[in-house]
Structures are given as structure tokens and as C-alpha cells.
């Protein structure tokens, strides 16, 4: 369980995250949606202790992220931010292997190798293992980063817009993979998503943020509705029921 209490963060005089309090239960996929500048990415980074908060606390399974040793947290919670620009030249396999760093401090065991192979296979990267990251396409690189996070094998996995750079086929595959991870291995997945319909089809829980505040929290059936979406994004929405999924239409 992740308990977020009264988190506030501001840069200069702009409040980016404003007194957010919420609880994320174990298991399932939670999506965070909201317009640009709503504070979604900042909130995610604060949960993962990448950015210190000004006020408030984040507890992961009872551990205060601001006070717990980094290596302890790294075995419980992982995060992948967007725009992962890397100057270091690593092969895909080397990168994924660093997902085991919190456990082995750089000296991989046979068990670690198994984890690495599994993560590579999961993302269809077996053939690319020996390639350097800077030789890959944007989508392949994104999958390699996700494989590293999977390899880290933490209970909580946080992703900031993981579908960036992915084409439709890979985007769908990625969301399915996250859902499988949640269902089959009992992982807790938190994703910031831009695409409302991916959130609608794959989430157990949706969190809506607006102007740095927590606006709504609930299952897709409560959130993906014309009135709430219109309030969130400030433009008209229609919502249709298609084969059991709620699909928002906003192109007109």
C-alpha cells in the first residue's frame, strides 16, 4: 500500500502539486490522467523519491520514502520516467542486467541471469540483447528500459507515460504486459497515461489530477463519463460502450 499524505511541491512560486492525499492499494493497475501541467509526473517522481517534496509524506508499505535507505526501496519500488536520454553506451542486456543491481551490487548470480532472460523474453528483446542502446529505434529503446524495470522485480512499478515512442501494436502489447504483471504476479502498477482510452480499458483504478490537485479517484466506470472528462480536460466528450469497455470520443 502506498499512502500519500498532504504532498505539496512548488517551483519558485508555482505550486505544481498541491496538498495531494491519496491511498493506492496493493495490486492492479492504477492510471493517473489529467491535462498537461496537472502535476502527474511530479507526483509520480515524488512517490519514487526522485524529487523531494516540500511538505507531506509518502509511505510505501509503511516505509517513509524520504527516510528509507535507497537500496531498500529499490527492492520494493521501481520507476521509469519519460525521456530517458542516456549518453552511456550499454548493450540491451547490460542495461537490463542493471535491474538486478539492487540485489547483487553488480555481481550477477545464476538466478539473476534467469531474471534477465525472462525480462528480455517478455519484451521480445532476445535478438537485440547484444545491440547497443544508441543503435536502436526509439520504441526498441523504450522496451529495453521497461525490461530493466521488470528485471528489478519490485512489488510496485511506476511508469511515466510508458507508451511514448511506441506504435499501436507495441503500445497495446505494453499495456497487456503491465496487466499480466499485475494479475499474474501480484504487482502494483502505477502509470501516467496520456491516452484516456488506454486508461479506461486497462485500469482497475483511475486517478484524475487537475491544477496540481487530486480531482477524482475511482474505477473506470465512475471516471470515464462525459461530465467528469469534460470537467477535467475542458472540452466536450462522448463516451460509448463498446464490447464492455468505455471508450471516450473527443475528436469532434
Amino acid at each position: 500500500m502506498i499512502e500519500i499524505r498532504n504532498i505539496t511541491k512548488s517551483y519558485d512560486s508555482t505550486v505544481v502539486v498541491d496538498a495531494v492525499t491519496l491511498t493506492l492499494r496493493r495490486g492492479g493497475i492504477t492510471s493517473i490522467i489529467g491535462p498537461n501541467g496537472a502535476g502527474k509526473s511530479t507526483l509520480l517522481s515524488i512517490i519514487a523519491r526522485l524529487i523531494p517534496t516540500d511538505k507531506g509524506t509518502v509511505m510505501v508499505d509503511g516505509l517513509d520514502v524520504a527516510r528509507t535507505a535507497g537500496e531498500v526501496l529499490a527492492r520494493r519500488l521501481s520507476i521509469l520516467r519519460q525521456d530517458n536520454h542516456m549518453t552511456t553506451r550499454l548493450t540491451v542486456r547490460d542495461l537490463v542486467a542493471f535491474g538486478r543491481y539492487p540485489y547483487n551490487k553488480g555481481r550477477p548470480t545464476a538466478q539473476d541471469q534467469e531474471h534477465i532472460n525472462k525480462a528480455l523474453a517478455y519484451l521480445g528483446l532476445e535478438d537485440l540483447g547484444g545491440r547497443f542502446l544508441d543503435e536502436l529505434s526509439g520504441g526498441q529503446r523504450q522496451r529495453a528500459f521497461v525490461a530493466m524495470v521488470l528485471c528489478q522485480d519490485t512489488d510496485y512499478m511506476l511508469f511515466d507515460e510508458p507508451l511514448n515512442n511506441l506504435d499501436i501494436r507495441h503500445a497495446v502489447a505494453m499495456m497487456k504486459l503491465l496487466r499480466d504483471a499485475a494479475r499474474d504476479f501480484g504487482k502494483t502498477v502505477v502509470v501516467v497515461l496520456h491516452d484516456v482510452n488506454f486508461a479506461s480499458c486497462y485500469s482497475d483504478q483511475i486517478i484524475v489530477m487537475r491544477d496540481g490537485k487530486l480531482f477524482l479517484q475511482g474505477p473506470p466506470s465512475e471516471i470515464i463519463r462525459p461530465d467528469t472528462l469534460q470537467q477535467t480536460y475542458g472540452c466536450p466528450f462522448e463516451v460509448h460502450d463498446l464490447g464492455g469497455d468505455r471508450i471516450a470520443v473527443y475528436y469532434a
Binding site: L50, A69, G70, N84, T87, T88, R89, F98, Q152
Partner: protein, 320 residues
């Protein structure tokens, strides 16, 4: 592994050549057959051997320091002579010469290290203020910072009539390395080995602060350790032989192109290639205009700036 042994042999061969090249005759056969007279033995023990050891230690150390700098600045062009480190160490040397010229070499090195540490930290602080982190801006700022710091050094050297003395430690000249005057480089050696122990940490740090934090690494501590290694290695080289420009640029980049940046893998190669490169530069400098010597630093300056230009022009072609 086989390749590595081959490279080791090549470096060893260069070291052996270095032992027997010079103004006075020292020959292998004479040394072993016992025909060597006292003078020959002395030249060997007091000058040639220390010089060769110093070349190896300095080359390996600077190449590794360059690698670490590139990981910390997350920039391919960063190395002690493009980050203000070298110039700060020189300023430190000058300050010691002004205030306490009689300090033992060890203490001089420590003072120079402190200055190098301060200068490099300043460089990294300035980098944090470059929001775009344009990769080209990083070495540009480093070179300019180095220029400003060395202007300070030159000013005081000029004021206090130390220009000549300063020439000695800016030239990258190993001809003055004698027994008793290079041992401080063993500190660089210890730090080089310590960097290898921490190789994975540096690789992770090179992936960026967010990645490092996610993997549970204490980024601040790695940064601090890396800065200390870079500063002390640079200072010990500056104190003994002078400035060796661009090794930290040439070697890590070449190694990275061939085998990537997993330092656990590549650091031994980097250290070895650095040693070999400096050995070769010094041998070239000793033979090209014998009996006069061209400092290894001068040879490196030419090779290094050509290499640097090549890196930049390739980039330009790619951009165009």
C-alpha cells in the same frame, strides 16, 4: 581475455622500449650479463625505471579519471583538461610554491587536489545551471572555465616571478622524473584500482541521477567519490610530470566505441590503453629530435586535439 593479454603484452613491450631509450646507453644484455658499469645501473634505477613506472601510472590514471568525468558529467567530451580540473590543480601548485615552497611532495599534491576538487565541483555546479544540457556546451564551458582559472595562475606566476617554475609543471614532461620524485603517483594507482572496485556504481551514475536513485544507488556519494578520484589522480600527475592533455578524452571514447560503457568490462582496457598511449607519446618525444626531448604532453596535445576535432566534425557531418 586473449585479446586483453595481447594488449597487455604490447603495453609491456612499449614499457621495455621506454626503459632502454635515452641519451645514455643502457642495454638489456649489459644489464643481465653483469657487464653494466655502475653508471649504467644508476641511470637505470634512478631515471629509466622511475620514468617508465611514472608513465604507466600517469597514463592509466588519467584515462580512468577521464572515464569517470564522462560518467559524472554525462558527457562524452568531459575530461580533466576540459573541466577545469587540470587548471585548478596548477593553481593549487602555484599557491603552494608561493606560500609554502618547502612542503613535501605529498602535501603539495594534497593542496593541488583540494584545488582540483573545488574547480571540478564548480564546473559541475555551472553545468547544473545549463538547463538544456546541450552536449556541446559542456566542454565549451569547461574549456573557458579552465582558461579563466589559468589566467589567475598566470597572473600570480607573473607577479611573483614564477613563470619558469610554472612551465615545468604545465608541459607534461617526464624527463625530470627521478627516483624519489614520482612516488606520489602510486596514490593515483591506488585510486585507479579503487575505481575498478566501484566500476558498477560509476556506470549506474552515468545513466543519470533518476536511474541511479531508482536502482537504490546513493548518487551523491558516488559523485563525491568520483570527484575525489578525478581530482587526486589529476593532481598527482600534475605534481610529478605536468599536464597530460586529452588522454581522458581519447582513450575512453575509443574504448567505448568498440565495447561500450560497462565499466566493469572496459576499465581495465581503458587503464591499459592509457598507459600504452602515454608510453608511446613519451618514446616518440624522446626519439623524434634526439638528443633533445619533446615532452609527452606536447605530443599528446597534437594527437588529442586532432582526435577531439575528428569527434566534433563527425558530429557536424551527422547533424548536417
Amino acid at each position: 581475455m586473449k585479446l586483453f593479454i595481447l594488449a597487455l603484452m604490447v603495453t609491456l613491450a612499449a614499457a621495455i622500449v621506454s626503459l632502454f631509450v635515452g641519451v645514455s646507453d643502457v642495454s638489456l644484455s649489459a644489464l643481465f650479463s653483469g657487464e653494466a658499469d655502475e653508471k649504467m645501473l644508476m641511470v637505470f634505477a634512478v631515471s629509466r625505471l622511475p620514468r617508465t613506472i611514472a608513465l604507466v601510472l600517469a597514463g592509466a590514471g588519467m584515462a580512468v579519471a577521464g572515464t569517470i568525468m564522462q560518467m559524472l558529467a554525462r558527457n562524452r567530451f568531459a575530461e580533466p583538461s576540459t573541466a577545469g580540473t587540470v587548471e585548478s590543480a596548477s593553481l593549487g601548485m602555484l599557491v603552494v610554491l608561493l606560500l609554502a615552497p618547502d612542503l613535501p611532495v605529498m602535501m603539495k599534491m594534497l593542496v593541488a587536489s583540494t584545488f582540483a576538487l573545488a574547480g571540478t565541483s564548480l564546473f559541475l555546479l555551472i553545468l547544473q545551471r545549463v538547463p538544456l544540457r546541450s552536449p556541446i556546451l559542456v566542454p565549451l564551458i569547461g574549456l573557458m572555465l579552465g582558461g579563466v582559472i589559468s589566467a589567475c595562475t598566470t597572473f600570480f606566476a607573473y607577479r611573483f616571478d614564477l613563470m619558469q617554475a610554472m612551465g615545468a609543471w604545465t608541459s607534461g614532461d617526464f624527463s625530470t622524473v627521478l627516483q624519489g620524485r614520482y612516488e606520489v603517483l602510486w596514490i593515483a594507482f591506488v585510486l585507479t584500482v579503487a575505481s575498478y572496485v566501484a566500476a558498477d556504481r560509476f556506470t549506474v551514475a552515468g545513466m543519470g541521477q533518476d536511474f541511479a536513485t531508482n536502482l537504490g544507488l546513493h548518487y551523491g556519494r558516488v559523485l563525491a567519490f568520483g570527484l575525489v578520484v578525478v581530482s587526486m589522480v589529476t593532481a598527482s600527475v600534475v605534481v610529478t610530470a605536468g599536464i597530460l592533455p586529452f588522454i581522458g578524452l581519447i582513450v575512453p571514447n575509443l574504448v567505448s566505441i568498440v565495447m561500450g560503457d560497462k565499466l566493469r568490462h572496459t576499465l581495465p582496457w581503458i587503464a591499459l590503453s592509457g598507459a600504452a598511449l602515454v608510453l608511446v607519446c613519451d618514446i616518440v618525444g624522446r626519439t623524434v629530435n634526439a638528443p633533445f626531448e619533446v615532452p609527452a604532453g606536447s605530443v599528446l596535445g597534437v594527437i588529442g586535439s586532432l582526435f577531439f576535432l575528428n569527434m566534433l566534425l563527425r558530429r557536424r557531418l551527422r547533424a548536417a
